[in-house]
Symmetry: C2
Subunit: 315 residues, 2 copies
């Protein structure tokens, strides 16, 4: 494992660099990779991002100036924010065994690269990339903006418990380059589509509370999605709503899939092991956030989930 200074030294010696990001790319993997790419270019190097086929409209503007041309043959491949090699997109699998440097902040990092620059305390991979880049080049506004996106998205705009004094300090330095983050913040953290707001409103109006109001169940029937003409973007992360209910320590979201199956999301506090609940329903995940997919009607699945929660809690 190497620190930011040594990672910078490695990068200084590289040229013709290809940066790879993870599947279902988020703001941190895209923002960090784009910032690093622009920094390397500012040093006079050739650098590109491997096209990530799952890029969403939200993050495309940051990646677009960096996409590698077809057939680009790099001398060095670097992974950014990739915890394990299994999270590489399919078009990156060819490089799986020849990644020269992995830059990451996941405690579950799989050490698949020749060298690894890992800081599991960092709120975002963007914090590490910031440290590396300050060793190498001036942080211009063009570099600062994707770095800000990387950091802000991974800490929920400085609200999640991973936010540290260092996170704020780096945000301050990035803003001091002169970038205007207010529009980025508004788009990423303060905007909801009308459809999404109306779906949330319906989910709240029809939420059901159980177990002395400690367990809430919110439902997303297919009929609601059709009625609202909801897109995938309108629906994503709707499971973040249930755990926001005050007094609740087990927020369950049941979404009817087009196939007729039901997707179960469980977010929980220490009393309820979400992973254990979902394991009993054929799924899995973490102690505080887990999921499963089940057969049956919304009502049948609701009963099954409540039963699983009861069993796990009483164990």
């Amino acid at each position: 494992m190497i620190d930011a200074k040594k990672a910078a030294a490695l990068l200084r010696a590289m040229d013709r660099v290809l940066l790879v990001t993870h599947v279902r790319p988020d703001g941190d993997t895209i923002g960090s990779a784009a910032a690093l790419c622009l920094g390397l270019r500012a040093m006079g190097k050739e650098a590109y991002l491997l096209v990530n086929p799952e890029i969403t409209e939200t993050y495309r503007p940051y990646a677009a100036p960096c996409w590698a041309p077809e057939g680009y043959e790099p001398d060095a491949v670097i992974s950014v924010d990739v915890a394990v090699a299994e999270l590489l997109p399919e078009n990156a699998l060819a490089y799986r065994d020849s990644i020269a440097l992995a830059i990451d902040h996941h405690p579950s990092h799989g050490f698949f690269a020749e060298e690894t620059c890992l800081d599991a305390q960092a709120a975002a991979c963007g914090e590490i990339v910031y440290e590396i880049l300050t060793e190498l080049t001036e942080i211009t506004p063009a570099i600062a903006l994707p770095l800000y996106v990387a950091i802000a998205t991974d800490c929920g705009c400085f609200v999640y418990s991973n936010t540290s004094a260092k996170t704020h300090r780096i945000a301050a330095r990035l803003m001091e380059t002169g970038i205007d983050v207010s529009e980025v913040n508004r788009q990423l953290f303060r905007t909801k589509s009308k459809v999404r707001l109306r779906m949330e409103a319906r989910m709240v109006a029809e939420m059901e509370l159980f177990d002395h109001d400690r367990v809430v169940i919110m439902k997303i029937p297919q009929a609601l999605c059709r009625e609202m003409q909801a897109t995938q973007t309108d629906i994503e992360e709707l499971s973040a709503l249930a755990p926001q209910v005050e007094g609740v320590d087990c927020g369950i979201t049941l979404r009817e899939l087009p196939s007729g199956k039901v997707k179960i999301s469980v977010r929980s506090g220490p009393r309820v092991n979400a992973s254990e609940v979902c394991r009993r329903l054929g799924g899995g995940g973490h102690q505080a956030a887990a999921g499963a997919t089940a057969e049956g009607s919304l009502d049948e699945v609701k009963q099954a989930v409540l039963h699983a929660v009861e069993t796990v809690v009483s164990q």
Copy 2:
């Protein structure tokens, strides 16, 4: 107008201080006043907060250790985050003409005190109080926590456009005192009461869009508050919902007060000067966030606000 250094000098010469906050107290007025009170006490002075009868459960814990005993007779009165004398609570009106120092960050400040320490660039009054306190005493964790609350609440946890590099830098320094802000962040920014969620759901279901969907009006009738048995805490900051609607750059919230008057909140992007809109309705505030209170029914006030927006935009 005096700067933080001069305000600190004034405070150094004071004793038996009474701090006054504004009506419908928010995190900034309470957090800033509580931090200043604790700082003055750490300097060996007597200092109290005038009881604010409208304090909500959310901010009571920060104010409670500081409430002045009945009959407390101060030598010096200081207002914190109070834009104009009209925003003093009724029990502070006796001091209206004898306020020695006003510490504030509202551009619409009314200069009602003998001395005024105003920084209209500050995201929160808490930023100014931080600067003053660093001149006077060590920022202990006990002082840092209410200051963090003051700053974080006024910038929506670093998401609003008033957030500056300085805001982040102060947050970093406060966190470096060792305070744990993750529970504060969860409570203040990631939890909503069931009543509040249900009120938001109703406001969304009944929202009205104008001017090519760029202006949204959400309403909080007294009937809704009664039906939901909403407390003051359930209602506070409900005006943050309207500006979240995608595509909207002017989010207006109209709340019917128990008196029958209507409280107007305007949150806007650069196209609409919220301060100017509210000035025309007898209120004031900032370019991006302002308020006013008007006579009339919700529908009459709605027409008046829409007219004011139209006038301001076409100027």
